[in-house]
Each structure stands twice: as structure tokens, then as C-alpha cells.
């Protein structure tokens, strides 16, 4: 039986009828068409689907959309402001912190949540915060460099 849910995504309110079995990741991509959130493993291993749910970093493939009724979600599409990439996104570009790009939305969301709570993280803290995001291309080095750089260059993310 479908349920009507109201979810605010990147500041815009969506009211949609969804089947309970629809995962939040699929709701974002297929129901409301925000395909920036990637879906990799769908069992909570790869982290590509990470978003902020009520400001907490979560894996949207381990969450049913119906559980998010009344909540607010920030996805990768919500980070750029007025066509300007966020400091973290710019740092990822500058440091070649991606190749195929599949893991990138999750990496950027995790970095965003980290720098919001800890603006000056150590390398160890960066690596721990990115734990749960798998990248098959970069070997992680450039990603860590990008986050370090973003932390250096920003008063806010």
C-alpha cells in the first residue's frame, strides 16, 4: 500500500506517494529525479549513496523513503550555491580527487559533514570520516589531499 510522504530535499518540499519498499536512494533518483546521489552496492558498503538526513550523514540505501517522512535531506545537488561549486567540490576538481566519479557524491557529502563539524581535521580524522566510502580509482590519496586543502582554504563549507 502506497504512503504519502513529505520530504524537504535541498530546501524544496516534495510530496509524493511511494511504496514502502522504495529506498531513500531510489526515491531521490527515480521518484524526484535527483540522480547526483549514486547507488553502488545497495547494501551499505560503498557509501556512494550518502546524503544528509536532518543534517546527519547517512547511507540512503539503508533507509526506506517512508522513514524519511517529515525529514529534510541534503544531496550532492544541494551543495553548490548560485551555480558556484562548494569549496570542497572545487578542491576535488583541483586535486584530481576522482577518476570515474562513481564514489564522488558520497565522498563529497562525507567531507562536507566532516568539515562542518570539524573544520580543521587531522589526516587521521579525515580518513576515519571517509571510512565507509569505497573508491576503486584514486587510491584515496588525492581525495585526502582535497579535503585537507578544503579545510585550509575555508572558513565555512
Amino acid at each position: 500500500m502506497k504512503k504519502t510522504i513529505r520530504v524537504t530535499v535541498n530546501g524544496r518540499l516534495y510530496e509524493e506517494d511511494v511504496e514502502p519498499r522504495i529506498l531513500l536512494s531510489h526515491f531521490l533518483r527515480e521518484t524526484i529525479g535527483l540522480t547526483g546521489t549514486h547507488v553502488g552496492c545497495v547494501v551499505g558498503e560503498c557509501g556512494a549513496c550518502s546524503v544528509l538526513l536532518d543534517d546527519k550523514l547517512i547511507k540512503s540505501c539503508l533507509h526506506f523513503a517512508v522513514q524519511a517522512d517529515g525529514c529534510s535531506v541534503t544531496t550532492i545537488e544541494g551543495l553548490a550555491k548560485d551555480g558556484q561549486l562548494s569549496v570542497i567540490q572545487e578542491a576535488f576538481v583541483k586535486h584530481y580527487a576522482l577518476q570515474c566519479g562513481y564514489c564522488t557524491p558520497g565522498m563529497v557529502m562525507a567531507s562536507h559533514a566532516l568539515l562542518r563539524d570539524h573544520p580543521q581535521p587531522t589526516e587521521d580524522e579525515i580518513r576515519k570520516a571517509l571510512g565507509g566510502n569505497l573508491c576503486m580509482c584514486t587510491g584515496y590519496v588525492q581525495i585526502v589531499e582535497a579535503v585537507k586543502d578544503a579545510a585550509k582554504g575555508s572558513t565555512h563549507v
Binding site: S50, K56, H63, G131
Partner: protein, 286 residues
């Protein structure tokens, strides 16, 4: 994903009546980090999923010097990790929850879901056994208390009866100031443990008055190593004695070969890690 109906009770008593009404067809969901995976794998195929996320005060954490710590079953791993009361009075729990999976899973998964899942690979149960914690299991017409130690029955099997929910975790006031938590992982920090060891210890001047020791990832349940405890309890502590405690603990576990290591390897790890845990716990006494 299988099809199911989703119901969201606004109170605990409403949750109990839904559980009664739907019986075996129903499963409860809190954080979802275990249940959704099991549903995807078709290990569980509930017709009804009951969401506990809207039950008020289900995630409350309170501390009292006489009563100890009370953790609502809906508290997330991250809530416990970051709780000032936990950090101050139960450093073992703080350390344990800091090491559960990685931050975004800790933002989702709950302690109740973790324990009720009965998965022997996870960390919280061992530390709760080492702290002699108890669980409140409630249904529409009764409430009972079970020790965490007795709660785990077999792989994914717990003492929960049909219609019952785990509602609260109660940890006695801190009694054994020495403690250690060692999580040995096969590759990266967020893996399940190859072997996990949790210990609390009380004593002075190089002797052990009391000790509790529990291990995860080494048997069909999280286990308490009572014979290894007995080796240490009431004794003067020496290197030989700690080594012996490790050797005895290794006879109390029944690990499996898997991608985290062979059974023999895990047993060897138990010997070493129990000794190291005891060394750390003793160090923290002073």
C-alpha cells in the same frame, strides 16, 4: 526489494498491539542498517514492517550515580559514542561505540537493533557483558529483565519472545575501573572484528579483585569467558597468570574459518589479545 506494508506506531503500546496483531508476519525497524540488508537478501521477508522511529523518548540516555546508565533501545551508536555521561563514567562504552563500523552507520544503527539482531560479529554486546548490563524486554502485558549475557542464544537468535521488544539497556554504576577494548580487524577500521575483546577489572597493588571478560566474533554468540575470569579473580597478577588467562580464554571460544581468518588464527589471537586486554586494564587502574 520485497513488498510489504509499513506501519508507524506513535507510542510503545501501539507498537505492542501492532506486534500482537501481525505476529510472525511483522518485523520492527529502527536504524535499518541490518534489517534492510537481510530483507534484500531475502533472509527475512516480513509482510509488515513496523517503524519505531517516531516513538517518543525511545533514544534517551540518562545517568544516575545510584542507578547507573539507562539507554533507550532507540539510541543510535553515535548518540552513545558522543554522550558526555558515557564518556565520563563508562570509557569502555565510549571506546567501543567509537569503533562500531563507521560514522554514517553509527548515525543510523541503534543499540536496540544491534542487540536484537543477535549478530555475534558486532562489538556492543561484549562490552555490555563486561559491564554486567541488563536488558528490559517488554510486551503488551509484561516486562522482564535479562542479562546481556543470557540474551544471546545462537546465531541471530536472542531471548526475545514473540510480541516482545527490547526497550532499554541498563548498565550498573561503574564498579571495575580498569578496562580494555580491543577490536582486531582483518583489513580496514570499519570491518567486522576478526576478534573483539572487552574487559573490566577491579583491584589494587597488583592483584585482581574482580574481572569480567567477553569476546565477539569467536563463536555463534558473543561469549563471556568465565573460566579465564576465574584464572584472574582473587589472584596476584603476574605475566604468567595473564598468559594463562589468554590460553584458557582460547578454550572457551569456538570460532569459524571465514574471510576474517581461520579458526586456528582466531584462537591464537584470543590468547594474545586477552593477555593484552588484561595488561591494559591493569594499567588503567593506576
Amino acid at each position: 526489494m520485497i513488498r510489504f506494508d509499513y506501519l508507524e506506531p506513535a507510542t510503545l503500546s501501539e507498537a505492542f498491539s501492532l506486534l500482537e496483531q501481525h505476529g510472525d508476519n511483522a518485523r520492527v525497524i529502527a536504524g535499518g542498517t541490518s534489517l534492510i540488508i537481510w530483507m534484500r537478501q531475502r533472509l527475512l521477508m516480513p509482510k509488515v514492517v513496523i517503524g519505531l522511529g517516531r516513538i517518543p523518548e525511545f533514544d534517551t540516555i540518562t545517568f544516575d550515580r545510584q542507578e547507573g546508565l539507562r539507554i533507550g533501545a532507540g539510541a543510535r551508536h553515535r548518540d552513545i559514542e558522543l554522550s558526555p555521561a558515557v564518556k565520563q563514567h563508562y570509557p569502555l562504552l565510549h571506546e567501543t561505540f567509537r569503533k562500531v563500523a563507521q560514522p554514517r552507520i553509527r548515525n543510523m544503527g541503534t543499540i536496540g537493533g544491534n542487540l536484537a539482531g543477535g549478530d555475534p560479529l558486532t562489538d556492543p554486546g561484549a562490552s555490555l557483558i563486561a559491564l554486567d548490563a541488563g536488558l528490559t524486554l517488554a510486551s503488551s502485558n509484561a516486562t522482564r529483565t535479562v542479562s546481556v549475557e543470557d540474551f544471546f542464544v545462537d546465531y541471530y537468535q536472542t531471548a526475545l519472545e514473540p510480541g516482545e521488544l527490547l526497550t532499554e539497556i541498563r548498565v550498573p554504576p561503574p564498579q571495575r575501573p580498569g578496562w580494555s577494548h580491543i577490536k582486531f580487524t582483518p583489513r580496514s577500521i570499519e570491518d567486522f572484528a576478526t576478534v573483539g575483546v572487552a574487559m573490566t577489572l577491579r583491584g589494587k597493588a597488583g592483584s585482581c579483585e574482580d574481572v569480567r571478560l567477553a569476546l565477539n566474533s569467536v563463536a555463534s554468540t558473543i561469549v563471556r569467558a568465565k573460566r579465564a575470569e576465574a584464572v584472574l579473580r582473587g589472584q596476584r597478577l603476574s605475566d604468567d597468570l595473564l598468559r594463562k588467562a589468554g590460553e584458557i580464554a582460547a578454550t572457551e571460544v569456538d570460532p569459524m574459518d571465514d574471510n576474517r581468518g581461520s579458526a586456528d588464527y582466531k584462537r591464537d589471537l584470543v590468547k594474545v589479545l586477552v593477555r593484552r586486554a588484561a595488561e591494559q586494564a591493569i594499567q588503567r587502574l593506576s
